[in-house]
């Protein structure tokens, strides 16, 4: 038995743009175009993952301690929210392809809810991190529940990547009053939190862009605007939204889970 259910008669109709010759060509152009865009997105986020891996390899001890203060419950909730959002999105695309406006609207609304929910959870998480002074910069501050956790862990790996003199001079020139060794680790934790805020921040920006696009689509579909007669806008938004989900699929374990024991 086939896993496919639909024949071409069941599909909503589409309009052909002037530059295309036939509808399959048009559809494939849009899909391939979206994928080339997603390739650029992969490279965009990929560079950040590279930086994360590199610094984690260089400063494993400091990074693992920094990993440990992230709030896993928030991250896990968001992962569940985004994966579910992805599922609702596929159902939304399916409904749109079948020309079922009511169901399209329902599923799209659910996806939007997930997206907003993600941002709400994230903002609570950010708020707590700002409160703990985990945002890098002059006010960066480090407190652990287990005293002494950050002594003895500073890096033996350090000299493999960075010139030793650069580190020392950096530590000396720092404005912190704590002992030099602690400062070193504190700086490296700033490195981790810089990456954390940039990666999750850029991801959140993508979520916000997704909300704007999906919100627009929602109203266009609600009022049966002719520009959404075609299912392609919904399908392409779906691809984008799945990509946002995939980024979190990687971000969540790599930021929150590893080094948690």
């Amino acid at each position: 038995m086939s896993i496919f259910e639909l024949q071409r008669e069941g599909f909503a109709s589409q309009r052909l743009a002037h530059q295309f010759e036939e509808i399959n060509q048009q559809n494939e152009c849009y899909i391939v175009g979206m994928w080339t865009f997603l390739v650029t997105e992969i490279m965009f986020f990929g560079a950040l993952f590279l930086i994360l891996s590199l610094y984690r390899m260089a400063y494993p001890a400091s990074f693992e301690q920094a990993h440990a203060v992230l709030l896993v419950s928030f991250g896990l909730t968001n992962a569940v929210i985004l994966i579910s959002g992805s599922y609702f999105m596929t159902m939304c695309v399916r409904a749109k392809m079948l020309g079922d406006y009511r169901m399209t609207q329902l599923w799209l609304g659910l996806t939007l809810l997930c997206a907003c929910g993600f941002l709400v959870v994230k903002s609570f998480e950010y708020a707590s991190e700002f409160k703990d002074h985990h945002f890098p910069g002059p006010s960066f501050h480090w407190e652990t529940t287990t005293p002494g956790a950050y002594t003895g862990s500073y890096s033996s790996q350090f000299s493999t990547t960075m010139p030793a003199n650069a580190v020392n001079s950096a530590a000396v020139s720092s404005t912190y009053s704590a002992p030099v060794t602690q400062n070193l680790n504190m700086h490296k934790r700033q490195l981790f939190f810089s990456l954390y805020f940039i990666m999750t921040g850029l991801h959140a920006v993508h979520v916000i862009i997704g909300i704007l696009i999906m919100g627009t689509l929602f109203f266009l579909i609600r009022y049966r605007h002719p520009s959404v007669d075609d299912y392609m806008p919904v399908e392409l938004t779906g691809l984008y939204w799945h990509f946002v989900d995939i980024v979190w699929i990687f971000l969540f374990p790599l930021l929150y889970l590893i080094g948690k024991q």
Binding site: F20, G33, T36, T161, H187, K188, Q190, L191
Partner: protein
Amino acid sequence: MSSILLRPDNLHGDTVLDEPNYLNWKSTVASWLLTKDHKRIAVMYFFSISFMFLIGGIAASGIRLALVRPHDTFFSSETYDKMFSAHGIIMVFFFLVPSIPATLGNFLVPLMIGAKDLAFPRLNLLSWYVYIVASAIMLGAVAFGGIDTGWTFYEPYSSIYSNSNVVAVTFAVFLAGFASIMTGMNFIVTIHKMRAPGLTWFRLPLFIWGMYATSLIMVLGTPVVAITLLLVTLQRMFGLCIFDPSCGGDPLLFEHLFWFYSHPAVYIMVLPSMAVVSEVIACFSRKRIFGYEFVAFSSMAIALLGFFVWGHHMFVTGESMYAGMVFSLLSFLIAVPSAIKVFNWSATLYKGNVWLSAPLIFAIGFILLFTIGGLTGLFLASLAVDVHLNMTYFVVAHFHYVMVGGAIFGFMAGMHFWWPKITGRLYPEGWAIVTAVVMFLGFNFTFFPQFILGFLGMPRRYHYYAPPYQFWNDMSSAGATIMAIGFMLPLFYWAWSLKYGEIAGPNPWGAKGLEWTVPSPPPSHNFDEIPLVTEEAYDYKAIHAAEIAGDYSHLQFDHPFAEAKHSDKPTNFEEH
């Protein structure tokens, strides 16, 4: 009957240009600013990048003026730093990267593959607007104090230690990157999906292969530099640390990520020129490009291999010795596809019926300069020699030979070759040839002395230099003046040709390719009927045979060259 008089008589009248075409179908400002026609967007891009080229050129003149004397008093050292940074950034990101793809590529890709437009016309227009916004931010940043990091934004120059407009400039480059990503996406999809029936991959003009390879680099490389520059911006704006050694960050990582794009970006600049040169040489030697498949695949090989060599910019910056060895080897390897192209172009000219017109002179200039630029690249790719030559004027001369001698000569060749198609009129051939020669001589006068300077050890980017270097620097500055004149000339005769140039007709060169089958300028919808392609690219056999026999009837207009050839063999003609 004289064959050269076969041309339709109305080609001399203005009537042809009055027919509806992409230029005259509407003339309101809004019809230009809201156009989705790839040809109009190409024209708008041409004017925008020409303006940026002018600004970059002014900065270059300032640099050469400062270097006339060992201890310059025209500019403060700070201004000098800002001038060479502005020159580099504007020329690389705002002129060379969009130059051929966004103008000739935009104009020709749909025409050459028999499509009515690019796959995403609105995205194409958006690309231009993003470019304009980026340029405006860039020019604003330069006007309000400039940037002193050099075009590479190396850390820690660009971190909090630089007291200049780093945020604005990196953001402008970030945006310009997106403009080129959009162009690249459009080309990739268009070339994959919108080819006319019968136009298989191996019937494509080599220009299309070149554009495809370029688009690959744009799509795969640009996001990396975009995120890198975004990180620099975030570092400065929010005090985050990514590349900052004071919190354990690695400035070398910035260089890795920057060159991961910026080395392939050199191939974004030169691959389109190679693509143009392939077209020009095939047309004016009346032969199919020798080893078509090899030239096509060498474009792809350059695009792919170009991604594996970025580390050769970092041999002396503390990169691992083993990485250096690998990058050195790979950099040597990339000379192979480049050499394949040069040999195949030469082989195409050999025994061709060579018509030494202005585009071909520019193209030959390209081959000569690119060869010098490429071979000196091998010096720099070898680890030991690089220790001596790195950060000297040898490097400056090398990449100008590739980026000016290569990219701009290719751009000029292409602009002249397709000028009749774009505007419907011919440029004055004599002036164009003079320009090609002046530019070639001026260019060599400017940059060859810099090889010597670099070899003698003069470091790049310094405002003052030791007096013994003055002779070569003065020669370089003098050459720059000649080159500047060479760049000015087209401005005048192109403008002149728009009004007074001879009406070109659809195919003034007797060239092959779908773009020459439509009227010049082409109508808005390009093709009345989508063509069916049944022949290989560059099928010049018949034309070649006819011209050897003295028959120039396919040229359709009385080009001086055709007359000269014709008068060589008057008797043959009278007999027919």
